[in-house]
Symmetry: C2
Subunit: 201 residues, 2 copies
DNA sequence: ATCGTGAAAAAATCGTTGAATATTTCACCA
DNA sequence: TGGTGAAATATTCAACGATTTTTTCACGAT
């Protein structure tokens, strides 16, 4: 065996490197993260499987309407599918500048989520979450994932597996598939770095 | 299929929950991360396989000398294998307080690494790295891992796959198995949250 | 032309099965 | 008690066929 445990099939690494900055790769990542097939996606889009395959590989190009449907389907802002990508002409495929992050969910609920990696590929998801003052996640949610977080600034209360904790700057956590919820009762936003594996988006 | 993609065998989740706060689990995690077997570890220790198995499960207890050997073998400070664990009597198994992190590597080289998760288990490693002013990693290193980082404070220069970048507060990066190195030419320490999958420790 | 389809070809995934390895259990020794 | 060694158990891994998924591409419609 080589170094450390292999990722999956071993050739995953190279396979990640995509052509240019197509939306295709993003769509594929989103689709994979929900574990749905080309066929299913094609159905929802009312398009053929072959065509969707081509879209994901950047050979064919989806209509704006298709993009809209896709964005809605996966719950990401339409802007996410758009150029945010390589907009920085000097941009490297490795780094994401503080001002150039792609937003993930919707802003409502007082939670702002931004992607810290250049794209959606990879075995985990690293996100910058900003919890606005007064915001809260009312009902606990449970995902079948491993999640970890680090408080960059502010203060956040979080309930994990039934235990409430008040996290201050510098505190961190990690849990496996426990139900959790949070609230920010402070006066300032709480900023967390949140890591989720495998990715959910 | 349940929610999202399963981790690996599916029962990984529960299997993580260990008894008390034994060093055993840590030793096992360290050993697994290097992909060596009980037999190999037993050899280095001059102990039997059965015994080492028992140590890892908290049934038998290693001597101080054994611990020393193990720590050296895995390149972690001896303190790591000691109590740092559940020292906080109120401590949850989910959260790690800013002041109660376990140190990882050695401090030399101007790099301070601290574990942000409660233990070494899981499919990724989340670390707080502090790069002291003037410190640098002279030679690029390459690991067969997926790595991502976020600059919490300070400024860090990092070379990834041959490209140098100056990262400021809020900048982030992600790469797959590229060779990298770094240097902090600033006057203040650079603090990064660094995520590595799979874990290397 | 360009956009998109449909179906054949290719590839990746999944469920077994069996051999080889790794780990746990436990009776017993120092 | 601390530890061994070997039998019992569990896990890993490769090989294989059967599906399922994805890609390719010739062709029809606009």
């Amino acid at each position: 065996m080589g170094i450390a445990r292999p990722q999956k099939s071993g050739k995953d690494f190279g396979a990640r490197r995509w052509q240019g900055g197509g939306v295709g790769a993003d769509i594929r990542a989103l689709r994979k993260s929900r574990a749905i097939t080309l066929g299913e996606l094609a159905d929802k889009l009312g398009r053929s499987v072959g065509f969707v395959s081509q879209i994901e590989r950047g050979i064919s190009h989806p209509s704006i309407d298709d993009l809209r449907t896709i964005a809605k389907l996966f719950g990401v802002p339409l802007s996410f599918l758009f150029g945010e990508h390589q907009r920085d002409p000097l941009g490297s495929r490795f780094v994401v500048r503080a001002g150039a992050r792609r937003q993930l969910g919707s802003t409502e609920g007082g939670l702002i989520e931004e992607l810290l990696s250049p794209d959606l590929s990879g075995s985990f998801e690293i996100i910058r979450s900003e919890f606005l003052p007064g915001s809260a996640l009312a009902q606990p949610v449970r995902r079948n994932t491993e999640e970890a977080g680090y408080v960059v600034s502010g203060k956040l209360e979080i309930e994990i597996g039934g235990e409430w904790h008040v996290l201050d700057k510098g505190d961190s956590f990690r849990f496996f598939g426990e139900p959790y919820r949070w609230r920010n009762r402070g006066k300032v936003p709480a900023v967390l770095i949140w890591v989720i594996a495998p990715p959910t988006y």
